[in-house]
Amino acid sequence: MTAVRARSSMLRAVLAGLMLVLSAAQGADAQERPRYGGELVYVVPTEPASYDAHREGTFALIHPLAPVYSTLLRFDPTDRTGTKVVGDIAESWTIAKDGRTYTFKLRRGVKFHDGSDLTSKDVKATYDKIVNPPADVVSFRKGQYTAIEVVEAPDPTTVVFRLKWPAASLTTALASPFNWIYKADILAKDMHWYETHVMGSGAFVFVEHVKGAYWAGKKNPNYWDKGKPYLDSYRALVVKDPNAQVAAVRAERAHVQFRGFTPAERDSIVQALGPKVTVQESPWDCVLLVGMNHEKKPWDDKRARKALTLALDRYQGSQALSKIAVVKSVGGVQVPGTPYATPPAELEKLAGYSHDIAKSRAEARRLLKEAGVPESFSFSLKNRNVPMPYEPMAIWLVDQWRQIGLQARHEFIESTKWEADLRDGNYEVAVDTQCSYAVDPDLDLYKFQSMGISGNNYGRYVDKPLDDLYQKQSRALDAEERRKYVRDFERRLLDEEAHYFYTLQWHRIIPHSAKLRGWTVTPSHFVNNQLDGVWLAE
């Protein structure tokens, strides 16, 4: 029995490895001719609160409705890092020398699904709503566009953005998957119309949404990109329970779930379907952070804070936890493999990233003693009650801190209460989270600025040098210069001041039907959901 088990688990490992190799090969395989036809069925885990992406921040809206809309710019669907910006309805663009004027040329022949033309006035109306909404309209990411002074539409195929100061990540901000282009005429009549209605210009036409059950869309025959989309239609089933989602893919009722599955779920799907499934994996631009309340003793002392990060054996944690949870990579402030990621040599130097864990832990104990923290000091660790990966991460954290003589009391609390406690500073140490829609220093570092500047700096600290570094990197148009500022920011945040620290990067695991082609995984589950390049093989 054991031999069989060992063999079958080895077989599973081999299969999984094969799948990874195959999927890598598929990404490079452009010779395969896409096949037309078929309906893509995928599962979505939750429902959004409204249909207006400008006011929502959840993938629950993106997954089912992104295929119906276009954006000005988007991230290249074939780029695995999800950072390369290309045009969607923008054909090309130029940037002025001083970086304060962006001129976009729009494609011709783009139409809304009601037949009307999409022109620059629609883009302008959309961005006016995003950048400067009226008093009763919510623009969720308004804070990202403070650099924009005005949006102009000099002629039907030209849009000009004038900035107050140079912004290195403006194209990333404009490629946000949430910036769906809305129709100017509709917005003029009713700014709230898009919260409860759908009118897009994307590769698919919206058919219906049965609440709690499914979303459906069908092929747009007048899509500007002639020859696309390949699919006839798509259907997004609402399946809330994770086991049911796995079962759906496993029983071949659905082709894919676009957010991510756990290692165990991947293994069970691979074991059941074998060659009929392809697994794509990628580090994820989501991470669990540990926040310490700088207003509570002893966490006002950076030695105590640093001790907490030194205690973590991240490399062993990565090995162990990646088997049971959706975490894996050890990284700094940017997802490994992306343009501004930390080079390994530099990473090693940051507190808590050394390969010599014994030395780190001895240092941690020494720092605790210096800071006057007694042995077996007990403190509360507030955690959000979401099973994956919050729970296993907390178990690991508590265990790691035990190794330096600290007793963390894990409090697994409801999301709303956790949110409230963090916001009110009603905690000592807490698990915090960060997910960005794209890997970009502006997006990923915003949170860590001082309290008062960053709305979700729950550490409750003020650090002017850190804020300055953020400003500098945000306006640095030269990539090398920007890189330097990002590294400085990282060092100050994670090592010198230890305001917050990163645990392990989440890991995105997408096992999908082998019939699904033309889709590449990226670190962001918000990106690459327009499905225009996706096709189904026989």
Partner: protein
């Protein structure tokens, strides 16, 4: 129960049943009702295991072992290990402590407070009874999950708050049952006699009425013990109960246990069995107890 003997003086009745030596009573119970005896035995074992966990458990329930994650049952780990390499058997043993604690605390709190409210309400009758009934009705109409959620949200998680969250919905149900038993007794002449004699309310309630609702109270208690353990498991399953890494049976059934149900079934099977066995035993015992205490069901 006293229903068949109205002529007896009030004070006599509880004493009469206490005269038989308890060992003989227990012995008869075991002989006549083997199922109940088995149930009681399992309960006792559970309690002993919970108390003596430090001695019995082979490993520290919090000790992780990243080299032996998800290991199958073997000589080193009789029931295997979980996703963090923690010994399942040790966690079940320590979990017994949490389960017994929660079970008994909730059952006692719920049943006792409910009984007192129910009997008092029945005794005073009239407007007091009506008011108490309304209030109990209101709480009964609330789904258990809402009350539990509200308590947990206000007070936070943790074992004390879980106990409160589970005991509160039990109170109105216990009050209802106690009240109907007490109502039957309230009409008895000896109670009227006691009132006419000028006995104080408290004395009448405590000495004459409560002992006669002993039987339904005990039955309720055993039923609630089982329900409390199940309720705790459900609450924890939803993420509202005690938190990791506390060893608790309900906790062991969520998260990784479900994830790895196929690859490592021992993680879900054994805690599930532990819960089922404990609740089963309590219910078996309670069932037989009800049979024993209800004279109408005695086999002639």
């Amino acid at each position: 129960m006293a229903i068949g003997r109205p002529a007896e003086a009030a004070a006599e009745i509880p004493e009469t049943t206490q005269r038989r030596p308890w060992l003989a009573v227990v012995g008869e119970f075991c002989r006549k009702r083997p199922l109940g005896a088995i149930g009681a035995a399992v309960v006792v074992v559970n309690i002993l295991v919970g108390i003596g966990a430090n001695v019995i458990a082979p490993y520290d329930p919090l000790a992780t072992d990243y080299g032996a994650m998800l290991a199958r049952p073997s000589a080193a780990h009789w029931l295997g290990t979980d996703a963090f390499g923690r010994d399942v058997l040790s966690r079940i043993i320590y979990g017994s402590r949490t389960a017994m604690l929660v079970g008994f605390a909730c059952a006692f709190l719920g049943a006792t407070i409910g009984a007192v409210i129910g009997v008092t309400s029945a005794y005073f009758a009239g407007k007091v009874d009506l008011l108490v009934q309304r209030v109990m009705d209101i709480f009964l109409a609330f789904p258990l999950i809402i009350l539990a959620l509200a308590v947990v949200s206000i007070l936070g998680t943790g074992i004390v708050n879980v106990i409160v969250a589970i005991a509160i919905p039990m109170i109105p149900r216990a009050a209802l049952v106690s009240r109907s038993s007490a109502l039957a007794i309230r009409e008895m002449p000896y109670v009227d006699a006691a009132r006419a004699a000028g006995f104080r309310h408290r004395r009448i309630i405590l000495r004459h009425m409560l002992p006669n609702v002993m039987a339904p109270y005990l039955i309720m208690l055993t039923a609630y013990l089982g329900q409390a353990i199940l309720a705790e498991a459900s609450l924890t399953f939803l993420g509202l109960g005690v938190s990791e890494p506390t060893p608790a049976w309900g906790l062991m059934l969520r998260g990784a246990a479900v994830q790895f149900a196929e690859a490592a079934p021992w993680m879900a099977i054994f805690p599930g069995l532990a819960i089922s066995l404990a609740v089963f035993a309590f219910n078996l015992f309670g069932d037989s107890l009800r049979d024993a205490l209800d004279p109408r069901l005695r086999v002639q």
